[in-house]
């Protein structure tokens, strides 16, 4: 039985290194055998206060495959929330109807607050630009699966490193595994100093670049993210840098054989479609891994694994 029974997962730093490994091990079992009716007496509430296709469907597919019943909403329109009910009251009410709450809410810190109000465990499925820990867990799963280990890897991160919450969480998590970080971004979208500080505090190294080609020979993982036009106050600046973070198949010459490309999706044009058919593309399998990891988290938190 895992130590995660009854726990909340709000921020990636809520779990220890050993607990990450526990979840990944349980997820591996679900990848082998995803349809196990071990949650057939449980009710999972999925409360999506803002739309999300991938995350909600992934959670609901995970819960369904384990036999759980699902209640909830995918949009607060038509619910008591629209009538002005507070998050506090909604959570207290839903706690009495369910065994576990999965919540996405655009207000930052809302999941932490919900976990303090709820009488059942809460899994954060994204609280604004703050945290999205189940994405990070599936990134870890994908890294371990493709590399055979999480230890001593060269992790390259490309694109919007300033605002990308998946990047910040992954850096924090990989600091437990002696990673070396290679950071590629336009000057305006560099990794915030508070996140760089966590790398330094872990006694690890990071290197900064402005062009992808510089990290191709060393990277074990290339973690791509989207550079969004709206992040730039000056549209001219966006035009100037937008192509510096695009990865195409011809750029992959000289990469390591074990190198794999990850992306939290949705992608726009930062990975050209000719990369999809190379052996290095892993982003679609990565999304599929999300189901196993969410199965593992729900089963562990509900105390059945």
């Amino acid at each position: 039985m895992s130590t995660l029974k009854g726990r909340n997962l709000i921020s990636i730093t809520d779990f220890s290194k050993e607990e990450y490994i526990q979840v990944l091990d349980i997820a591996e079992g679900f990848e082998q055998n995803p349809k196990q009716k071990i949650l057939s007496d449980k009710v999972v509430a999925t409360l999506f206060f803002e739309p999300s296709t991938r995350t909600r469907l992934s959670f609901e597919s995970a819960a369904n495959q384990l036999g759980a019943r699902i209640i909830g909403f995918s949009d607060p329109g038509g619910t008591s929330v629209q009538k002005g009910e507070s998050l506090h009251d909604t959570i207290v009410m839903v706690s009495s109807y369910s065994d576990l709450i999965v919540m996405r809410n655009p207000k930052e810190g809302s999941s932490r607050y919900a976990s303090e109000v709820a009488s059942v465990p809460v899994i954060n499925a994204g609280d604004g630009a703050n945290q999205h820990p189940t994405q990070c867990m599936l990134d870890l799963y994908s890294i371990r699966k493709t590399q055979g280990t999480l230890e001593n890897l060269n992790i390259a991160m490309v694109g919007d490193l300033k605002y990308g919450r998946t990047v910040h969480s992954l850096v924090q998590a990989m600091c437990n595994f002696n990673a070396t970080f290679h950071l590629v971004s336009p000057q305006e979208l560099k990794l915030p100093s508070s996140v760089k500080m966590s790398i330094k505090n872990a006694g690890l190294k990071y290197y900064q670049y402005t062009e992808i080609k510089d990290i191709i020979p060393t990277a074990d993982i290339i973690y791509m993210t989207r550079v969004q036009r709206e992040r730039f106050p000056d549209p001219m600046e966006y035009e100037r840098v937008k192509d510096s973070c695009i990865l195409s198949a011809d750029m992959l010459k000289g990469c390591k054989d074990n190198m794999r490309i990850l992306h939290p999706l949705p992608r726009v044009n930062e990975i050209t479609t000719d990369v999809d058919s190379t052996p290095y593309a892993y982003y679609f399998q990565q999304a599929q891994n999300g189901v196993y990891v969410r199965q593992a988290l729900m089963a562990a938190i509900l105390g059945v694994k």
């Binding site: 507070s86 930052e108 810190g109 932490r112 607050y113 609280d127 604004g128």
Partner: protein, 153 residues
């Protein structure tokens, strides 16, 4: 203890003296402690000579002793302030207002998207840097600094 003959701000019989306040912080201390509404003697001096600070502010509040939370508030806006407890014109306690490790309720989170600014949720912070005054919100995990700090009404 100041010599009574030279005192610019009179002594109080019982209460608290907040000394060594940076001159620009005196009125902020008054505001965050709600002293505008205090119904007893409050003596305020500012731009007084100080060996330690050059110029300083001082506030003497009759018949008032501050709670731990109030002292935390003083420490946030006037980190060098001394708190002096007076009984019967004598100093019975003197200490520096210390910034605590955790702050609850009275500071607002600087992140407009934080849940504490959207619903009635009491704020909680960890103080991550006392020297430069940097607070990390327990909920949204963003930083509130000296420059962005606002106090709850």
């Amino acid at each position: 203890m100041e010599n009574k003959k030279e005192m610019v701000v009179s002594a109080i019989e019982n209460g608290t003296v907040i000394d060594h306040i940076a001159t620009e912080s005196v009125y902020q201390v008054i505001r965050i402690l709600g002293l505008e509404k205090y119904k007893d003697e409050v003596l305020i001096g500012n731009y007084l000579s100080s060996e330690k600070l050059g110029r300083k502010g001082i506030i003497k509040i009759k018949n008032k002793h501050f709670t731990k939370e109030e002292i935390s508030k003083i420490a946030l806006v006037a980190p060098f302030a001394s708190i002096i407890n007076i009984e019967d014109y004598k100093v019975v306690g003197k200490f520096r207002a210390e910034i605590p490790d955790h702050i609850e309720n009275f500071v607002r989170c600087a992140n407009p998207k934080c849940i504490t600014n959207a619903e009635v949720v009491p704020t909680k912070f960890d103080v991550v840097d006392k020297e430069n005054l940097k607070l990390r919100c327990h909920y949204c995990e963003k930083f509130t600094t000296k420059e962005t700090m606002k106090f709850a009404e």
